[in-house]
């Protein structure tokens, strides 16, 4: 089965300030195949696509397209389109106020002899195109009057009509219902049979197995491997995406909960937020470490955010220490002794222009209120204490936080919460993007906090880390809590629970 290769990407490397987004990634696309590009958020899928379509300018590497002698380097999406590479995004990038026909030929309108736009030709050619794609619609209606699914197909029709050899579909099914998805798949299969190479980016595992021929998996900006679909069952795919490499960290093991843990601290019943997390029950005892596991986007963060009030719960009740608690916003949760380290450090964690001292006392100050300023001297003492305790590497406590490395920024945020002396701490991906030494420190810290009687809700993409620190795991899938694991948990059992039902 020596298929003809239409696209090869070799050694693509791309660095953003502080992170290697892509590290010598290879990718090969053959003629007439649907090739899934898989990986968790931040694995480098989008960056790879953007390097290909000219949105990003990659640093090293080579891209070759069938039919062009030289290696190519696109500088804009227009460039890419000229070379036969078209992209259809999740949000359709067409104009809802123009007609379908106008949208199909926008930017490449056929002209009359007088160099005006030939509207008749546009309509005619659009009708032909619509028939060809078996789209049942009136091309003179505005784009906005059709469903998202149809709009997406129109976008694909436009891409294919521009003589495209490589079609990139970036999360095209996220907002479609089952019926629309199947229509889209029919279209994709037809294009494949016509010889178009299709790159399919999605996070729906089912769909990958339904329509794809081949899978390339990325993790942390590195290529994990390329596999034919038949050679990679679901559990193995999840393993590849999450990474199974067992890091030889010191064996950390939480003490069993039975004797040590205290009374019920958090008792959530039916908490939920439409579109983010379906109603769930969860309880946590004092001194217990509970992990939330599942693929990214399965509702792990959302669950934690609803408890903390970062997203206001729409249903259900929450009891803290057996008392009904009304948590509508983070400050309410903080007054009940909660704290949360959010997963997106940059967007929701750091106040980058403020100093380390200010960032550390931030939450404590919020608890005290605006009128009771923590005296400057006390602020310095608190900051110095945590800089020493967590070994934060900084020139001084007055350094703006943005000048610190990611790991040290993370420690500052942890210090911010430790300073408030919380009973219940939510840690959402505290070890992401952090070197292995700091990772171990944070894991040890979690266990130490639990021994001091604090409860922790821990979220991580690394199963080992969870096994090492958690007494109990709650499993999430597709925005729903589907079960709990405790006792003897192994990597396999957890991954089976994540994948669900399917036999590996």
């Amino acid at each position: 089965m020596e298929d003809k290769v239409v696209l090869t990407m070799r050694g693509i490397t791309m660095t953003f300030p502080g992170v290697k987004a892509l590290d010598h990634v290879d990718f090969t696309l053959r003629k007439g195949e649907i090739h899934a590009l898989m990986g968790e958020n931040g694995a480098g899928k989008s960056t790879l696509i953007k390097c290909l379509t000219g949105v990003h300018d990659f640093e090293f590497g080579e891209i070759r397209v069938d039919g062009i002698e030289e290696p190519i380097r696109n500088h804009s999406t227009m460039d890419a389109q000229r070379r036969g590479i078209s992209t259809v995004y999740q949000e359709v990038n067409l104009c809802p106020n123009l007609s379908v026909a106008e949208n199909l030929f926008i930017g490449r309108e056929p002209l009359t002899k007088a160099h005006t736009i030939d509207r008749k030709a546009i309509v005619k050619r659009a009708q032909k195109l619509a028939e060809e794609f078996e789209l049942n619609l009136d091309v003179q209606q505005t784009m906005g009057s059709y469903s998202l699914a149809l709009q997406q197909m129109i976008a694909i029709a436009r891409a294919v009509d521009m003589d495209c050899k490589i079609l990139i579909l970036d999360e095209p099914t996220s907002s479609l219902d089952d019926n629309e998805v199947s229509k889209l798949f029919t279209l994709m299969r037809r294009l494949r049979d016509q010889g178009v190479g299709i790159i399919f980016v999605t996070h729906f595992l089912e769909q990958v197995y339904e329509v794809c021929d081949r899978i390339t998996v990325l993790r942390n900006g590195q290529l994990v491997g390329e596999y034919p679909v038949t050679a990679l069952p679901r559990v193995k795919l999840i393993a590849a995406m999450m990474g199974k490499d067992i890091d030889d960290l010191a064996k950390i093991k939480p003490e069993a909960c039975e004797n040590r843990c205290g009374d019920m601290l958090i008792d959530a019943k039916g908490l939920g937020h439409t579109g983010k997390i379906k109603p769930f029950d969860l309880n946590i005892r004092q001194g217990e470490v509970v992990g939330l596991t599942g693929l990214l986007g399965s509702g792990r963060s959302e669950l934690a955010r609803v408890i903390y009030g970062a997203d206001r719960p729409q249903t259900g009740t929450l009891k803290v220490k057996d008392k009904p608690a009304h948590v509508a916003q983070p400050i309410d949760a903080m007054k009940l002794g909660m704290g949360m380290l959010p997963d997106d450090r940059k967007a929701e964690g750091i106040i980058d222009d403020l100093s380390i001292r200010e960032n550390i006392v931030l939450a404590m100050q919020a608890q005290q209120g605006m009128l009771k300023l923590i005296p400057y001297k006390e602020q310095c003492e608190i900051a110095d204490k945590y800089i020493a305790l967590l070994d934060i590497k900084t020139a001084s406590r007055e350094t703006p936080l943005k000048q610190l490395s990611g790991g040290n920024q993370q420690k500052v945020i942890i210090a911010r919460w430790l300073a408030t002396n919380p009973d219940f701490l939510i840690l959402d991906e505290p070890t992401r993007g952090i070197d292995i030494g700091t990772k171990t420190e944070i894991q040890k810290l979690i266990i130490k906090l639990a021994e001091e009687g604090k409860s922790i809700l821990f979220i991580s993409s690394e199963i080992e880390e969870m096994l090492r620190t958690c007494n109990r795991l709650a499993v999430l899938r597709d925005g729903e809590k589907v079960g709990e694991l405790s006792g003897d948990m192994t990597q396999e059992s957890v991954m089976h629970a994540i994948a669900g039902g399917e036999k590996g």
């Binding site: 970062a310 400050i331 929701e348 106040i351 931030l362 100050q365 608890q367 009771k372 300023l373």
Partner: protein
């Protein structure tokens, strides 16, 4: 050399530099004209009152300085500007005069009700305007510029309605106190100093500064850390409104009348410019109150200088614009980057030279 670089890197360097530049121009002009004995910096006492250009700058710049305090907070927390402050000044003055004269009276020499009722009512209506702006911005998520555009155009008109569409004169001497003199010192200067002092104390002894800056830098992160962003942005608009009210009362007292069409006209622009000249980013976040205040007085110094140089009041804005362009360009990140690059290149060249020798 190293020390010079250290000084130029200070946050307040440019605002102070701009101020000194304007002063220097005055000095050179005076010396060139032989005005050694009576010059820009002379302060004298005539009839028991302080006179001189410096006093004039401090006096005339009071309203802008008071407005700049509030504007700084609004800019920092919301990354937007309150363009209604000029109109709110006029409205506060109108409200005050309307109450003191009694509605419909255009020229009185006796109060219809106690002075303090009028002043408080003026401040209250200004706070209300601030609350209205704050509500639109923080709870309805309307862009500050658009939200405050409403009162920018309506505020003045409401003031005019209150004054029955005329200029209301209040010829009671005590009404002129706010715009007049306290002993030898012009009262507006004292009012401005009071406002600045109170705000400085608030910033020093409460966490307002941290609240406002955190929300301005990263509202989402601030929320997770327990800050109620909306309430804080709302508060800054109310404070801004209150200060506009104070400035409005001062301006009204100066002319002892509610000339609603002219009080505070274009002052919102001076206030915004003062914040920018003070080295504060209009994109919100970290702020220096002292910078904004120096900025406000710099603007007044430019205006006074131009008048002293004999530029007519009709043409002054053109020269003012030129000077502002210069100052803003010097402070722009693009120019700073070029300067930094040059300095670095020079350093490299110097090092190479040293190695060559």
């Amino acid at each position: 050399m190293k020390q010079i670089r250290k000084i130029t890197k200070m946050r307040l360097f440019l605002p102070i530099f701009s101020m000194v530049l304007v002063m220097a121009i005055n000095m050179i002009y005076d010396v060139a004209n032989g005005n050694v004995f009576y010059n820009f910096f002379t302060i004298s006492i005539r009839n028991g009152l302080l006179y001189g250009r410096l006093i004039d700058i401090l006096n005339r710049g009071s309203e802008a300085a008071i407005l700049a305090i509030g504007m700084t907070l609004v800019v920092s927390s919301s990354a937007g500007v309150d363009i209604s402050v000029g109109s709110v000044m006029s409205l506060a003055g109108g409200m005050c005069c309307m109450l003191l004269a009694g509605f419909g009276n255009a020229n009185v020499s006796q109060y219809a009700m106690p002075l303090w009722v009028g002043l408080l009512a003026g401040l209250a209506v200004a706070c209300l305007c601030g609350a209205f702006n704050g509500f639109l911005v923080s709870y309805l998520n309307i862009q500050p510029m658009v939200a405050t555009l409403i009162l920018f155009s309506a505020g003045r008109a409401i003031g005019l309605l209150m004054c029955n569409s005329t200029i209301v004169y209040i010829r009671e001497p005590s009404f002129q106190f706010l715009g007049g003199y306290l002993g030898p010192i012009p009262t507006p200067i004292i009012v401005a100093i009071l406002c600045i002092t109170v705000m400085s104390l608030i910033l020093k002894y409460t966490a307002l500064g941290m609240y406002v800056q955190s929300v301005g830098i990263n509202a989402k992160a601030a929320r997770i850390a327990g800050y109620q962003s909306r309430r804080i942005i709302f508060t800054t608009f109310v404070i801004c409104g209150l200060l506009a009210g104070i400035a409005g009362l001062v301006a009204t007292s100066r002319i002892y009348s509610a000339d609603t069409n002219n009080i505070g006209l274009n002052f919102e622009l001076d206030a915004i410019l003062a914040v920018a000249l003070g080295g504060n980013s209009l994109g919100g976040g970290k702020f220096r109150l002292s910078g904004s205040i120096i900025g406000a007085y710099t603007i007044q110094a430019i205006t006074t200088t131009l008048y002293a140089l004999g530029v007519s009041s009709a043409q002054a804005p053109v020269f003012k614009a030129v000077i502002v362009i210069l100052i803003v360009t010097i402070q722009s990140p693009a120019v700073k980057a070029v300067m930094a690059k040059r300095a670095a290149a020079k350093e490299v060249a110097a090092r190479k030279g040293a190695v060559g020798v």
